[in-house]
């Protein structure tokens, strides 16, 4: 009785499907099928081996999963933000690490090129990134500047023919396999956050090194790396001309966090689906454990929270498509949905009893992954403080 022995059909207690367009459902179904056929068969082994399944990149690109909400003229799918969110949901139903890969490529690498790049940069880079020919990473966080990125100490100094970059970046998803990076650095004084600019930096340049961070107990099917830039020379046109100040990387993070809020729903749906199926089939005291009140309470709580999270991100997506979504609305969704997913994964793992600690089942893998998701892209606590500031007008950080 392996986990997910029946086909995965999602969780839709409030007829969310009726709120989606035909295209949105088609996108969701395509990604769901892809996850079933290509990711689920390998994810357990990848997780145990600590390996990102890079052999899946061409297939993901062929489907159009990278930067799917960016325009068709740059080789992207041109989807709306709800369809984009559904992609993230379905990828994270498989594994948070795979969703992270797509989030970084689309929201943290392609988006800044699209939003802050010149037309030449967009025409050159975006089609290659959409096709998976160039894999990107996003270099903002530093060893001593995580929740406080404005304090970063990586520098970019202008020379006669370009820029020289120096600094260290940490916790960089895709770092060691990336062919290109978006590096955020200060062009002015080290305490001048307004001088932060973005640079497109190929990772094969002299002075650029990436090292995998070892010993992770979470997101094991995803590469996390440390980047070192020592006198890395880039040409003048490496700078993203429209980037300026801390606001630019934060705009990228808003894009990524939006997708993460959807992703949390996907991970929680996977855990609920597994828990429901297990509870129905696991016999103890001559009856399925689903017949016990304590497991029913677990399942009821999970379904309730998942349904709330689904409605939350759907409305958030509609606001994003209307152009009225605010960063603090995204904070609320990321904070709520990832916390919700953490709780669902933990309760599902507990419902699965001893079997729940095996890689053959998915809940514990999700549970461990989600601890990273809880912590990255604005920790849960930081999002509390962002909301606190929104409510009171007083910054407490």
């Amino acid at each position: 009785m392996a986990g997910g022995s029946a086909a995965y059909t999602g969780v839709d207690f409030y007829d969310m499907d009726s709120l989606l367009s035909e295209e949105e459902r088609a996108v969701r179904d395509t990604v769901r099928s892809w996850v079933d056929d290509h990711l689920m068969p390998v994810i357990g082994d990848c997780y145990i081996e600590g390996r990102f399944p890079k052999e899946l990149i061409p297939g993901m690109a062929e489907l159009g999963l990278f930067g799917a909400n960016l325009p068709e003229e740059y080789g992207c799918a041109g989807l709306n933000n709800v369809a984009y969110g559904l992609i993230m949901q379905e990828l994270e139903r498989g594994d948070s690490g795979i969703r992270s890969f797509a989030s970084v490529q689309g929201a943290l690498v392609m988006y800044p090129v699209y939003a802050f790049g010149s037309e030449e940069q967009k025409k050159y880079w975006l089609p290659k990134m959409a096709a998976g020919e160039e894999i990107g990473c996003f270099g903002l966080t530093e060893p001593d500047f995580g929740s406080n990125p404005g304090g970063l100490i990586t520098t970019a100094r202008e020379t006669a023919d370009g820029w020289v970059l120096n600094g260290t970046k940490m916790w960089i998803t895709n770092g060691s396999q990336a062919t290109v990076s978006i590096i955020w650095a200060k062009t002015g004084d080290i305490d001048d956050a307004k001088s932060i600019r973005g640079f497109i930096v190929p990772t094969n340049l002299p002075g650029f090194t990436a090292k995998d961070q070892k010993g992770k107990l979470s997101l094991r099917a995803s590469d996390t790396s440390e980047l070192h830039l020592q006198d890395v020379h880039v040409p003048k046109d490496a700078i993203l001309p429209l980037s300026g100040g801390l606001k630019s990387p934060l705009m990228c993070l808003t894009q990524a966090r939006y997708g993460i809020a959807w992703g949390g729903v996907g991970a929680a749906m996977a855990c609920f689906d597994e828990a429901r199926s297990y509870a129905a089939n696991r016999i103890m005291f001559d009856k399925p454990i689903a017949a016990t009140q304590i497991q029913q309470e677990r399942l009821a709580e999970m379904l309730t929270e998942i349904t709330k999270g689904q409605l939350l991100v759907l409305q958030l997506g509609r606001l994003k498509d209307k152009g009225t979504m605010t960063p603090s609305q995204v904070s609320l969704a990321k904070r709520n949905n990832i916390n919700m997913a953490c709780e669902c994964a933990r309760e599902a793992r507990r419902l699965l009893g001893g079997n729940g600690i095996l890689i053959e089942y998915h809940s514990m893998r999700h549970m461990a992954n989600l601890e990273s998701v809880y912590t990255y892209e604005g920790t849960h606590d930081m999002h509390s403080l962002i909301l606190g500031q929104e409510i009171t007008g007083i910054a407490a950080y």
């Binding site: 088609a26 395509t30 892809w34 799918a77």
Partner: protein, 258 residues
Amino acid sequence: MTYFRKRIDMKIAICLRRVPDTTAKIVIGPSGVAIDEAGVKFVPNPYDEYALEAGLALVGAAGAGETVVVGFAGDSVQETLRTALAMGVDRAVHLQGTPTADGLANARVLADHLRDGGYDLILFGKLAVDDYGQQTGVMVAELLGLPCATAISSLSVDGGVATVTREVEGGVENATCALPAVLTCDKGLNTPRLPSLKGIMAAKKKPLDIVPVTVGESRVTVVSLAMPPERAAGRMLGEGAAAVPALITALTTEAKVL
């Protein structure tokens, strides 16, 4: 599977049915002769997906030609037709009407539409997984006077000839037929592609022609539908080698299969 062909601009029709998802929980509707469609997810008939993939692969390998998907059903089939367009089919035709339980009446509707289409190949799934009629493809071939190979599990086209493999009881049958021809497709023929996200967006801009049709009299009437009886739960006879004697006894005296 390898496709070889020399002719260019092959024109291929694929006939498509919309069926309940095979994982859907089926409930019989109040009429007693149809299922309750509320809350049931519908998908392209899985065997028709092999036909779609075969058509797309043939035209794709040739780099020229046209694929047309044809669906005879109520309006809900348009979503299924758009799935085919999203997979890469060039255009769709919705024969708008209500199919009957009489395979021949339905086949006449399709044949009348396909007759003057100039198709080199007309592809069907070998059956639709909802009613298991297994009639439409062969009847359309007969009505059009075309050769037909059923339940093919491999296909190549060279010049004006299709070479197919059919899995028959205890072996494999290799056959050829001259084009134009009608083929019905079986599992194993190929692995159907997923619609890409760009394909889904492009599908909205592809032509989907709606052609109202009238279907002839049905000589078959569905009298009632019934769910299969529930299978009784299995019985545990024990574990490991110790259970073998009891198992042998049960297979001999109860199941009477030994």
